[in-house]
């Protein structure tokens, strides 16, 4: 900037600030600034239209934005009309190319200053513009390492809940469901509906992806829409959307457009597919129908192997146990045979011993009998002699006893009362036949019997003579 003359006051020289020129009148500085900015080279910029205002005034105002910055733009209404853009076709969210240069409205006592990009030419961004911008974004995101994180996330082969971001009425929705059905997958789908083409698409897609990850507890997210031009798919090249997906903790599968239309989201996603049908296969890597058959086959195989292992070992064990069992059986049979033989032999032995013992006993008995006979004969002979000796002894004894008896009889007869009576004596007997001995007994009895040898006569005591001899 040319050095402006410092303003002066009526009171004298202006008061400078140490180290700074001036102070200068601000209006003059603003004009100088405008002139200087207008000297900047005229350029074309590309960005998204935002805050469009088409009023009655001489200017059309809007902003151009991208992820790195923004410019306030102003375009004379005449210039705008000259572009041939229909007002209803020009709206926020459009990607446009604007050509012009910096301008500065210096404002005034009643107006605020404004730095603007004065647009002289304006057109919608063409495919070439978009592809060029896409290439630049791709380089930037790649340089930031944002293509890798999603690809490092583990993806379950059998997700239970799948989040899907797509248009509510799009064909992609039906294709995705058909693909899941072909997989034999009948889990839970959480639909995060979003526009997929208009100026609000990128922000809506971004919000749905974020909410699915945060609230829906999904195992994987599919973002899909059908084919279209790069302009149609531009929402999926949104830098903010792609940066957010790149660092999402849930794997994202993109299926946007077709293989020829590779969008930026395809680069940052865990898996990029050409169609929603392929996205279904990527979301459920496992063919559930076949997996069910395989698990059933595994179960049958395991059962068969387990049973076979047991049966095989049972046969081996049976074979192993047969030898000792047969060995034992042989010994058992041998033992039984020996036992039978032993019993038979024992029986024969007992019978033999019995016969022998009987013969011995008979012999002994015979000998005993003979000895007994001999002894008996000897006994008889001895008995005869003894008898004879006994008879002789008995005879002697008899004689001796007869002689003694005769002597005793003679002695006895000498004491026999009858012999006494025979010699003339008598014996007095009481009524009971008892002898009465003495005079006193006779007197007491008074009457009595006199037993003589030839009979008994009554008698009576008569004391008359005694009493006469005794009387004075």
């Amino acid at each position: 900037m040319d050095a402006s003359e410092p303003s002066s006051t009526a009171t004298g020289a202006p008061v400078a600030v140490a180290g700074y020129p001036g102070p200068f009148p601000v209006g003059r500085y603003a004009l100088k600034l405008r002139d200087r900015l207008r000297e900047f080279q005229r350029v074309a910029v590309i960005g998204e239209v935002c805050g469009l205002r088409i009023g009655r005034g001489p200017n059309v105002y809007f902003e151009l934005r991208d992820q790195q910055g923004a410019l306030s733009c102003a375009m004379w209404r005449d210039d705008f009309d000259r572009q041939g853009l229909a007002e209803d076709a020009f709206a926020d969210g459009l990607e446009v190319v604007a050509a012009g240069g910096l301008d500065f409205y210096p404002g005034g006592p009643q107006a605020s200053p404004r730095l603007q990009f004065r647009v002289r030419e304006l057109r919608l961004a063409g495919e070439g513009d978009l592809l060029a911008r896409l290439a630049r974004l791709r380089r930037e995101l790649s340089a930031d390492g944002l293509f890798e994180p999603q690809k490092l996330l583990p993806r379950p082969v059998l997700p239970r809940r799948i989040g899907v971001v797509t248009s509510r009425d799009g064909a992609a929705r039906r294709d995705l469901l058909a693909g899941l059905e072909r997989r034999g997958w009948r889990g839970t789908v959480v639909w995060g509906d979003a526009p997929v083409q208009d100026r609000r698409a990128a922000a809506a897609i971004r919000r749905s992806v974020r909410d699915l990850a945060a609230f829906a507890d999904v195992d994987v997210i599919v973002v899909c829409r059908g084919g279209g031009s790069i302009a149609d798919l531009w929402a999926f090249c949104d830098e903010a959307l792609c940066r957010e997906i790149a660092v999402l903790a849930v794997p994202v599968i993109s299926a946007v457009g077709h293989e020829t239309d590779r969008t930026l989201i395809d680069d940052v996603a865990a898996v990029s597919c050409s169609t929603p049908t392929h996205a279904a296969e990527a979301a459920v890597p496992l063919d559930c129908t076949r997996a069910r058959e395989a698990v059933a086959a595994h179960a049958r195989r395991l059962n068969t192997l387990g049973r076979a292992a047991l049966a095989s070992r049972a046969r081996t064990l049976a074979a192993s146990s047969r030898a000792p069992r047969e060995h034992l059986d042989r010994h058992r049979r041998r033992l039984h045979q020996l036992t039978r033989e032993m019993r038979a032999a024992s029986a024969r032995g007992l019978a033999g011993r019995g016969e022998f013992q009987r013969r011995i006993a008979a012999l002994v008995l015979d000998r005993k009998l003979e000895a007994t006979r001999v002894a008996a004969a000897a006994g008889r002979r001895s008995l005869g002699a003894n008898a004879r000796r006994l008879a002789r002894a008995s005879e002697g004894i008899g004689r001796r006893r007869s002689l003694a008896l005769g002597a005793q009889a003679a002695a006895l007869r000498a004491h026999d009362p009858d012999r006494t009576l025979e010699r003339g004596f008598a014996v007095a007997l009481d009524d009971a036949g008892e002898p009465l001995a003495g005079v006193a007994a006779l007197r007491e009895a008074g009457s009595f019997d006199l037993q003589l040898s030839d009979g008994r006569v009554p008698a009576q005591v008569d004391d008359s003579q005694e009493r006469e001899r005794g009387a004075p």
């Binding site: 009948r186 639909w191 459920v284 595994h298």
Partner: protein, 85 residues
């Protein structure tokens, strides 16, 4: 038996499967081991027991995605979680 060549079931306590693919991978290794006829009786019984657990797990995982397609709306889920949003 752990000392048998190629034994795959040496661990007395087999950790439970954590995913379908891990369960099926382990199941296939068990069947391969049994197919080899090199497993002893004790190992065979242990492998069969483990295989049964794995099959139940895998079948359960498949059953979880075979109960009929359920479709939920994200907006309704969020509304339920955050009514004021």
């Amino acid at each position: 038996m752990s000392t048998e060549p190629g034994a795959v079931a040496a661990e007395p306590m087999v950790p439970p499967p954590t995913s379908y693919e891990a369960a099926v991978e382990r199941l296939e290794s068990i069947i391969a081991r049994l197919d080899s006829n090199q497993a002893g009786l004790k190992e065979t019984l242990a492998l069969c027991q483990e295989g049964k657990v794995l099959i139940e797990f895998a079948a359960g995982e498949l059953e979880a995605v075979d109960r009929g397609l359920e479709e939920l709306q994200l907006a309704e889920l969020i509304e339920r979680l955050e009514p004021s949003r």
